[in-house]
């Protein structure tokens, strides 16, 4: 059988192609499933371990003193919200703003410097950011606070959001900007109302990734927000956070606290998923048929 191994025989080619095609598809599907496995495993384990301790008391009460059973993490849930609100107020405008600068004005040395700085900042261990904020904010204010925790997390959000915003804006075709300039729309207006709007889906994804990443951070909060066994709604007071509470309870010697730590971790994940999903739903509502 001459030429049987040659790829020029049509049937041979199609067989080989079918095999590689199906092989590649199987690989891609397998990879996707492998990605899902750890996520689902973690979530399932959290549910199994934690769901038994999630009850009304857990969601509405503050922690009981060591040794007593019962109580909850209501103050930590609220505290996490408070700290994340501060971090978003800092991280979103600074991150999106510097991303806009990098994409629309930053084709120069200064832009390169900011890009490099952002990438380095992204790699700085979170506990280092915690120490820095401790010495810059906490030491000066002379007490731990929700504000300083928010500052630490906000700083961590900036580089992720900045680079995501830059990448998404660079993906907006230049002809779209030209269309706006051609209508006599000033550059700043074009950037905010045309380019950023066109890139909004990607920018929002970047913001959500940054948000979800810092929402579970513990290390930078250890010596900034510090934690609190009681209710606190003031920005300048030590504040409980779910991640801190989980950490404290998990390393404690009490069995009841261990259970509550699992429950706290479960609630933390659910809150993050809920927040991300809510933003997705709200932002996709404004999108049009056939729009990008």
């Amino acid at each position: 059988m001459p030429n049987s191994a040659s790829p020029s025989t049509p049937q041979e080619v199609s067989l080989w192609r079918r095999i590689t095609n199906q092989g590649a598809t199987a690989f891609a599907v397998g990879a996707a499933i492998l990605v899902l496995v750890p996520l689902l495993a973690i979530f399932a384990y959290l549910v199994i371990k934690g769901i038994g301790s999630v009850n009304l008391a857990f969601l509405t009460q503050t922690p009981k003193p060591p040794g007593e059973t019962g109580g909850g993490m209501a103050n930590a849930i609220v505290g996490t919200g408070l700290i994340l609100a501060v971090s978003s107020v800092i991280g979103l405008p600074l991150g999106i703003g510097s991303g806009i600068y990098l994409a629309e004005y930053g084709r120069n040395r200064f832009g390169d410097l900011i890009r490099f700085t952002a990438d380095v900042l992204n790699g700085v261990p979170s506990i280092v950011i915690g120490i820095a904020v401790y010495s810059l904010v906490v030491v000066r204010q002379k007490h731990f606070s929700a504000f300083s925790g928010g500052v630490a997390l906000g700083i961590m959000m900036i580089p992720t959001i900045a680079r995501a915003t830059e990448e998404m804006l660079l993906m907006v075709p230049n002809v779209v900007r030209e269309a706006a300039y051609g209508l006599g729309i000033p550059k700043w207006r074009t950037t905010l109302s045309i380019s950023l709007r066109t890139a909004s889906a990607g920018v929002i994804t970047g913001c959500m990734l940054a948000f979800a990443r810092v929402a579970g951070e513990t290390a930078p909060l250890l010596f900034t927000a510090f934690g609190n066994q009681f209710w606190n709604l003031k920005l300048n007071q030590p504040t409980a956070a779910l991640s801190l509470q989980v950490f404290t309870y998990a390393i404690s010697p009490y069995d009841d606290w261990h259970k509550q730590a699992w429950a706290g971790a479960l609630i933390l994940i659910l809150l993050i998923v809920g927040a991300v999903a809510a933003v997705r739903i709200v932002t996709s509502r404004g999108m049009l048929k056939g729009g990008a």
């Binding site: 051609g182 209508l183 006599g184 207006r189 045309i194």
Partner: protein
């Protein structure tokens, strides 16, 4: 009503590269003027200089005198943003704003220039879409459908409507039909014929038949210079310059 355009001694550079060499050209009000020439001859650069779009490219600059009606485009104190508002532009590739509805696209130039009267805006959007011969096709989906969901030819007419909505005096078209099929192209050409009642139109085209069909005057560009500029009929039947004749008879370009 359209206004005339007077270009005197216009030079344009990309970096150190001189790509338009002292162009003198006058375009009559309410007429269509075509600009033809081989690729890279500077015809796009030329129309982009008329509304100061040229200088939005990094390191690009232009010098000389361009008068559009009473407006001195390159005069001291002339604001490029204002210039572009009064001189509309349609680009080679349809470029609707992808996240905006059909209505939003047409209204964008008004809204983002601080115009907020809803009733007047509705009227302007309808008028512009009618002028661009798109109204009948989209009137039921103005707010529901995105501009990007239309066909290529419809998108280009949407872009024309968008340019008309800000009520310019001149309309520049940079190869507006080169990305379109023949049916869409003929629609755009009919439209250009209608538009000259209200506007002065300058159209860059690769397609010489198109120039012959739509334009009263035609300018032939070669290597950054205006070689010949005359009535379209004259250019295509008895050109004065040998190079023009070579080009229109297909000997190069």
């Amino acid at each position: 009503m359209g206004v005339g355009i007077e270009v005197r001694g216009l030079n344009a550079w990309y970096g150190k590269n001189l790509s338009l060499k002292s162009i003198d050209m006058s375009m009559a009000a309410n007429h269509v003027t075509a600009v033809i020439g081989p690729s890279g001859c500077g015809k796009s650069t030329f129309v982009r200089c008329l509304n100061r779009m040229h200088e939005t490219i990094p390191e690009a600059r232009a010098e000389g005198s361009v008068k559009v009606g009473e407006m001195d485009v390159y005069g001291a104190g002339s604001d490029p943003v204002e210039v572009r508002r009064r001189i509309g532009m349609v680009f080679q590739k349809p470029n609707p704003f992808p996240t905006m509805s059909i209505y939003g696209n047409v209204a964008a130039g008004l809204k983002l220039n601080g115009f907020h009267n809803r009733k007047q805006m509705d009227e302007l959007v309808e008028r512009s879409l009618k002028l661009a011969a798109l109204w009948e096709e989209v009137k039921d989906n103005l707010h529901k459908k995105s501009g990007a969901s239309l066909s290529g030819g419809q998108q280009q007419r949407l872009c024309i409507a968008r340019a008309l909505a800000v009520e310019p005096e001149v309309l520049l078209m940079d190869e507006p039909a080169s990305a379109l099929d023949p049916i869409s192209t003929s629609k755009i050409e009919e439209l250009i014929f209608q538009l000259k009642q209200h506007y002065t139109v300058v159209i860059v085209t690769h397609n010489m038949q198109q120039a012959a069909r739509v334009a009263e005057f035609t300018g032939f560009f070669l290597m950054g210079s205006l070689i010949e500029y005359d009535k379209t009929e004259k250019i295509f039947t008895t050109p004065a310059d040998k190079r023009t004749e070579d080009y229109i008879t297909g000997r190069f370009g």
